[in-house]
């Protein structure tokens, strides 16, 4: 037998996988809006396609999900159309769950994605959702959360925005059951010409609900951040507690932050507050750190990390929090956002 002149390798399209999944996490993938068939559903959860695009997630009544469900949603060159789709999340009564939604772009096409995530938090449900957005400089992604919270439900959403050309996160929350709690937190890091928009409408429709919002951003170069936050307290929604804060750290002269807090209160026995600030790095703190031998760049970085520290602290899952802390740090160092030991470009 002579030597083979050539060998044939069948073309197997590479399927994207997260190479460094976290412990205690089950992963499912959404490619250009389409839920992959080999999706993963741990006990107590049901994850199905809601239509051609979009997913439908149900956390069953009374189920206590120990594992975090991670849904990795990415755009790639197999479909570069503008996409619009809707996802549904139904959190049944007295269920508890933890969900991680990651959005990425894998190729450099100019993607445009608009998605709605409808969340219904039923009575007594307890849910933690972390959203991690890491897309490239030509990606426009608009996410609209439409949330209905029933009696004594607890829902916390933490959004970590690392990268993207134009990212818009809308939250339309209706607290319709007494004692419902909704907590929205966000960190956004923007530079270059990136734009981030956050719009929150928090509707307190019944009594004794609690909502809090804490959004913080670091802006460099000529990046822009818009924040519009409205709290509406209906006439019958007595004993409401509603808090809102938006703080921006402007690194450059060219960066701009626009904040529009709005309160509409029709009840008379409420506790509400809002605050919006934009500031610059603290020269005193920088000098203090430098006087201890810490270089200027490192001192600036420490101060930026310190600025967003309290928002990242709101992530309950310690492992996830540490990983996101690392991602935020590498992002602020101007590196690509990779998880440690991973070579994939989830960005």
């Amino acid at each position: 037998m002579g030597e083979a002149k050539y060998t044939y390798t069948p073309e197997i399209p590479e399927v994207f996988r997260c190479r460094v999944p976290m412990e205690g996490t089950g992963q499912s993938y959404v490619t250009n809006g389409v839920l992959r068939e080999e999706f993963y559903s741990p006990e107590g959860l049901s994850l199905k396609p809601s239509d051609i695009r979009g997913f439908s997630l149900e956390v069953k009544s009374g189920s206590k999900c120990e594992q975090t469900l991670q849904i990795i949603s990415f755009r790639d060159s197999t479909d570069t159309n503008e996409l619009r789709f809707e996802n549904r999340v139904l959190l049944e009564e007295n269920s508890s769950s933890s969900i991680l939604l990651c959005t990425h772009t894998l190729t450099l096409d100019h993607f445009s994605t608009e998605e709605v995530i409808k969340i219904e938090a039923k009575k007594g449900s307890n849910t933690n959702i972390v959203v991690m957005q890491n897309e490239h400089n030509h990606s426009t992604h608009k996410v609209k959360f439409v949330i209905e919270s029933h009696q004594s439900s607890y829902l916390k959403i933490n959004v970590i925005t690392l990268h993207g050309a134009l990212l818009e996160n809308d939250f339309d929350v209706k607290l319709i059951g007494e004692g419902a709690v909704c907590e929205l937190n966000g960190v956004y890091l923007v530079d270059g010409e990136q734009v981030i928009k956050t719009n929150v409408v928090m509707n307190h429709m019944v009594r004794e609900c609690l909502s809090s919002q804490l959004f913080k951003g670091i802006l460099d170069d000529t990046a822009k951040a818009y924040f519009t936050g409205r709290i509406v307290v209906a006439q019958d929604a007595q004993k409401t507690q509603a808090y809102q804060a938006n703080h921006n750290l402007l690194i450059s002269q060219g960066a701009k932050a626009y904040a529009q807090p709005q309160l509409e209160i029709y009840a008379d026995d409420v506790k509400c507050s809002h605050g919006a600030t934009s500031g610059r790095l603290d020269d005193n703190a920088l000098f203090y750190m430098r006087s201890r031998g810490i270089g200027k760049a490192e001192a600036k970085l420490l101060q930026q990390l310190a600025f967003v520290y309290d928002v990242l602290e709101k992530i309950d899952n310690v492992q996830l929090r540490e990983r996101l802390n690392d991602l935020v740090e590498s992002r602020l160092r101007g590196e690509f956002g990779h998880c440690t030991n991973c070579s994939m470009n989830c960005c």
Partner: protein, 248 residues
Amino acid sequence: MLEIKGLHASIGGKEILKGIDLSVKAGQVHAIMGPNGSGKSTLSAVLAGRDTFEVTKGEVTFSGLNLLELSPEERARQGLFLGFQYPVEIPGVSNVNFMKTAINEQRKFRALPPITAAEFLKMMREKMAVVEMDSSFSGRGVNVGFSGGEKKRNEIFQLAMLDPVLSILDETDSGLDIDALRIVASGVNKLKRDDNAFIVITHYQRLLDYIIPDVVHVLYDGRIIKSAGKELALEVEQRGYDWLINGL
């Protein structure tokens, strides 16, 4: 170790230091006293490299280097330490993280590998004991929610961690009760060696009961108007500054 010759410095066009001459040798403790507004804090800030002040004339040599050419972090890495009169609060940066970063930045400068976790913890424990600091402080944000005394103790703790060649303590005694003063002073005394030096800036003689200076200087209107032994501090305490100022 430190040679200051004809140092002039101003802020916003206003001259604060009007020709300072000072020579500090290894193993010495110098005290600088003087009324409010005489330029004591300006001198320490200029030496540490604060850029709000402009050096208009004079030279400063530190361990053979032109100090004025160095950035604040380079000065620190060469072994200069400033204990702040008003230590800065940095929420979100824990004391541990702050010190670890500072130590590793300094080690990097000396081409040493980052400190190991075990070594670092041991060092933290040892140095916290020097100023009788509770270990719970290590996890808290730098100076956040610290009382006046705790902040000053934290300065001496950082001094102990960084082991500088020359330490400048800017009114470390201000706002301290007698117990805190004793702890801070004994911390300094424990750290004093033949191969390092201290400049202690103070309003009051009280601190100098605990930290015995080799030389006492009186600073007035941007100049050192009198230098003498430790007895000068006592004299100032009893007679005030007027006799010195009027004698000019």
